[in-house]
Each structure stands twice: as C-alpha cells, then as structure tokens.
C-alpha cells in the first residue's frame, strides 16, 4: 500500500517536473535573485558592490519621484481599466449580433494587433501641437491648439486615451467569446417572460458575464502596470516625470543609470504590489462573481 503511494507520488512528481523546472528557472529563481540583489549597493570597478540591507528601499521611500511615479501608475490604472472594460463590453454586445460583423470585429480588434511602438508613433502625430490631427481638428472649429504631451495637466489623459483605444479591442474578444457561449434559451425565456432588453442585460447577461469580467479585470490591472512601450515614443516619462510609470522608472534605473540593485528593489515593490492586487481580486471578488 505505502509502496504504491510512493510510486504514485513519484509518477506525479515526474509528470510536473518539466513545468516545475521551467517555472523555477525562468520565474522563481530570477525573483529570488532580484530580491537578493536589491539588498546590495551599485558596484563599479573601483568600489565593488556590498551588502546594504534595506537601504535601496529606504532611498526610494525618501525619493519624491518614486511616489510621483507610483501615484501616476494608480491614476493610469484607475483611468484606463474601468473605461476600457466598459467599452469592451459595449463593443462585444454591438458586434455579436450584427450583419457585416466580421469587418466590424476586425475594425475593433485592429488597434490590438498593431505593435505598441507603431501605435505610439501614430498617436505622437495625433498629439503633436499645431500640426497634429487633434489640433487640426480643433482648428477647423476655430478652437486653439494645445501642447498635449508637453503639459503636465494633459499628458496623462493623452496616454490613457491611447491605452484605452489599444486595450478595449483586446478585452472585447474575451467578452465576445463569453457571449457566444451563452445559451440562446436564456434570452428566449427572458423575452417570453416579458422583460425588456435592458433588464435582460442587467439581470441575466451581466451576472453571467461576471467570471469573464473578473478575468478581464485582473488582466487589465496587470496590463496597466506592465505597459511601458508607449512611453519610449511619446514622452519618456516627461515633462519632468509627469507621465513616468513604475516600469519605465525601473528601466531608467537599470539601463540609463546602470543601478541594477535599485532597479531590483523597484521590481520587488512592483511584484509585491501586483501580487497583493491579484490575490485580493481573486479572494474578495471570486466569491461574488458566480451566479447562483
């Protein structure tokens, strides 16, 4: 009996071994390395790196730019996630039952297929003062142009608008898949009972879509912290850090300042933040999303 259990356990371990190896080598080991590295100082040929405990973290706690960047990220997430999810749902409902829907779906999905760098270059010319599309449009109505990306007040909304444009089509796909999987009887039954389309959506469709919404929410929040490509093209975090995001700040430390330990400390902060967000989303929301 016990021998059989051991053998079974062994088979089990062997079966997961490839996955565990890959995960350990490419996810867990680097995370541990990052954590360890964040406890050291930046080294150079003259003064080698040495253990400094939590000094890197303390430096960031005292760094106003770090807090600014963190705040920017929160604004970015709050500004992009709800809107792009709502838009995704509306678009999914729209293209789900429409003729010529293939073209429409493609149109909505197109921004997602564009590489971020290409999209950012397009948007850079939308936002360019005086000669950009946006200012030219305003000009035809006799309105004055704005320095969209050069003004701390408008730079974040500009980035968020572009991100929503880019992300909504992607999330639409998930909603579309969920809608396609919905049984038509529900709709028929609801209509027979005499409920309107809005009530049907509010009382039947929307609750049934909750698991999808949770999935999309988690992804959208993660993306809000992971997206960084557009900053390279549009603002480089400027003006004066008004649009700097955590991931770009990490990049600056790692590759512009070559301060890998500081970048590692920031990475740990980012990881912890994301882990807390993901766990709380699953724990607190998971209980409520299932339709009973």
């Amino acid at each position: 009996m016990s021998k059989r259990v051991t053998k079974q356990a062994l088979t089990g371990w062997l079966l997961v071994l490839p996955a565990v190896t890959v995960l350990a080598a490419f996810t867990h080991f680097p995370i541990v390395r990052t954590m360890v590295e964040s406890l050291y100082s930046k080294g150079n040929p003259v003064r080698p790196s040495h253990f400094i405990g939590l000094d890197n973290y303390a430096n960031f706690a005292a760094d106003p730019v770090f807090w600014k960047v963190l705040g920017n990220n929160a604004i970015f997430a709050l500004g992009t996630v709800p809107v792009s999810m709502a838009l995704a749902l509306v678009m999914a409902l729209w293209v789900q039952s429409r003729s010529g829907k293939a073209v429409l779906r493609l149109a909505y999905f197109l921004p997602t297929m564009l590489p971020m760098i290409a999209a950012a270059n397009i948007w850079l010319f939308f936002y360019t003062p005086d000669i950009g599309l946006l200012d030219q449009l305003l000009g035809t109505f006799g309105l004055p142009g704005r320095n969209w990306l050069g003004d701390p007040a408008t730079v974040m909304p500009c980035l968020m608008a572009m991100t929503i444009w880019k992300e909504a089509g992607f999330f639409m796909i998930f909603y579309l898949a969920a809608l396609q999987g919905m049984s038509p009887e529900l709709r028929e039954a609801a209509l027979l009972e005499g409920c309107g389309r809005f009530t049907y959506f509010r009382r039947v469709l929307f609750p049934l879509l909750m698991p999808t919404s949770l999935f999309v929410l988690v992804n959208a929040v993660l993306n809000a912290f992971k997206l960084v490509d557009h900053l390279f093209i549009l603002t480089k975090g400027g003006p004066s850090n008004a649009s700097n995001l955590l991931l770009y700040y990490i990049y600056e430390h790692a590759f512009a300042f070559y301060d890998l330990p500081a970048a590692a400390a920031l990475t740990v902060v980012l990881l912890l933040g994301l882990a807390i967000l993901a766990i709380s989303q699953f724990v607190f929301l998971d209980k409520r999303v299932h339709y009973r």
């Binding site: 010319f125 701390p152 512009a256």
Partner: protein, 425 residues
Amino acid sequence: MFGRFTRAAATAATILGLAGTAAQAKDIELTMYYPVSVGGPLTKVVDGMVADFQKDNPGIKVNAIYAGNYDDTRVKALAALKGGQPVQLSVLFSIDAYELMEQDAVIPFDDVAQSAEDKEWLKSFYPGLMANGVINGKTWGIPFQRSTIVMYYNKDAFREVGLNPDQPPATWKDMVTAAKKLTKQDGSRWGLAIPSTGYPYWMFGALAKQNGELLMSADGTKTFFNKPNVVEALQFWRDLSAKDKVMSEGTVEWGTLRQSFLEGKAAMIWHSTGNLTAIRKDAKFDFGVAMLPGNREPGSPTGGGNFYLFKKSTPEERAASLKLIKFMTAPERAAQWSIATGYMGVSPESYETDALKAYIKDFPQAAVARDQLKVATAELATYQSGRVRKLLDDAIQATLTGSKTAKAALDDAQEQADRLLKPYR
C-alpha cells in the same frame, strides 16, 4: 554538483571558443552597433560605407547593426557584452565615456594606436570634437557623427514680416525681438522653438554657455547647475513662452519639431546640424542656417556620437577595428558623411576635400556648424551621467511647464547631483 556543471559548461565554451579562433584565423569578424538620432535614411549611408570598407579589406567582416537612438544603442551594446555576444567597437554617445569607463567596457585608443602615424591620426581631429572623448589625458572616443546646435530659420517668414533674411539675430535680445514679429497672434505660427524633450540638457548647455557658464567641470566630478548665470539662462528659456509669448507653453517635442518647422509652424528652431540635409530636401521655402545667438558670449555644446573600442576583444580584432574607424573617419568619408547628413566633417582636412568644398560653395549653410566649432564647448558629461542628466532634464522641464521656479528647480538638481558626485571627487 553546481561546480561540476559550471566546469562542464566552461570546457564546452573553451572548445567552442577555440573553434571560433580557428575560424578567425581566416576571417576577422567585427560587430559594431550604431545609432541614428535624427531624420533621414542614414542607416543606408553607414551600411554603404561599411560595404566599401569590406571591399577594400577582404578578410574583415563587419556586422554593422543599427540600434535606435543613443540610449537604445548603449543599452543594446552593453547588454550584448553582458550576454557574452562579441562587440568589438560601437558608435555611442560622446558623453557616455565616463559610464563606459566605469563599467570597464572600453579601452583608450592610445592602447591600440601606437605607431607614429597612428598618433598623428589621433591629433587630426578638431580639438572641440575631442573635448568629450579625452579624459585624464587618454583618448576614449573618436568623433564620427558629430554635431552642434544651429538655428534654422524660415527666410520667407522673415521677409513676410519685414526682417532681413540675410541677417539672422545674433543676440538673445535680437532673437526675442525677431521672434515677437514672427509670432502670429492666432497661434498659427510661433516665432521660436527650442526643443525640450529628448535632450533638454543639451539645449540648455547652449543657453548656459551663451550666458557665460559651463555646466560641469572638465573632470566630470562637479556640476554648476545653480550658479546665478545658469539660473538666469533657464529663466530666459522659460520667459520665451511665459513672458515674451514667442514659444509654445510647456515642453517642445524634439522628434516632431523638424516637421513643425517644415510646415511653417515655427519660424526659427534650434536643432542638431544632423538635420540639415533632411531639412534641405523637404523644405518648400527658402531657409537659412545660423550660429546660435549669444548673450554674454556666443556658444553651443558639441553633440553626437563617437567611436569606442571595447575591451572584450583580441589584439587582431582591435587592430581591425582601428582600421575600420580610420576608414570611416578619413577625410573623404567624413566629407561624404557630412554631405549626406549635415553632421560635421570631423577633421579640418575633410573640409579641404574637393567634394565638401564644392558642396559648401553651392550650399554655404553647410559651413555654419564648422564655423561655430570655434565657440563650441563640451556636452554635459559627468560620472553617473545618466542620473545627473535626468536631474537636469527634470529641472528644465519642471521650469518650462511652470511647476517650479528656475531657481528652486536648479537648486534641487544641484544638491542631488552633489550627493551623487561626491564619491568621485
């Protein structure tokens, strides 16, 4: 067990390495990264020059890899090195010298260029262009795609408002007066634009120099960000939009400014000479190129990319790299490069070539950058250069967007720069 694995890997690497060396006995293979930071199809020009070199030098194969702007290129070259990929030479930012030295990634040219002829060659470049490359008496960078800031101006617009198109403003005061005339009240044309994204510290280096100050000490261990004249220079920049209303509010984008100029939305712009050929090709109006105006004195920092030799290389590779660099910076090629791009010919001799002489005769604007070299200064370069540069960039942008005063922003930047640089003094 880990030890054994490492040893096995090391053995394997040695064997592979030996195989590599055996192959190199026939063919030396060089990898070089290079940036392009201005408009125009410049990669073709570099690739063409590399192809010419290979034709002349069978036995040396050069992989010239275009790697984006200066920052991207440095990141890629250093990442390749760390990843064990060969990189024997690269064109990198002239001001990255300190960082590259600190990372122990590069060797001085003096180690390789040892013959009398080589030593003469080291002296053949404009001294102004060597300022960022010579540190502690050794030459770490050889000028290649080098520029200064010049002022491009729209002559048609000058005529339109009654300014003399052949007399561009030579002082700050004249520039502001001209800019006020050129600015249209309905916002359809700004009199002046100085870009403040991408390389704000570079533009500011010019303003500070014109106001009689340098931004850093020659050994790269001190910055002078909050000297009164430096603060005054930043205040002047801010006033151009806040008080004089001749430049748009907020920051001005480096990347799209050339387009704005070409579309007539900015009548005078400060930009790299590296844009000259592209502007000449696309401008539908008569345009002029002028030295930057001065206040206490005229001046502009130099800018652009230098050749560096990387440490991780064999003596044969170093010799071949030197050969390539000599080829690329020879007067004829420097002339060809200057004509194709607008970057400067890097040596006095290049301006003596027939090609460049004829070009300048036909297009005198091309000589402005060279003439400005007489008053040029080094570009901001210090130890911890990435951080120090960002401190200044942030201070400039904070001032231009009105979120801090020039004095407060520069005081902060200076204080933090002092903290960063203290260990190097």
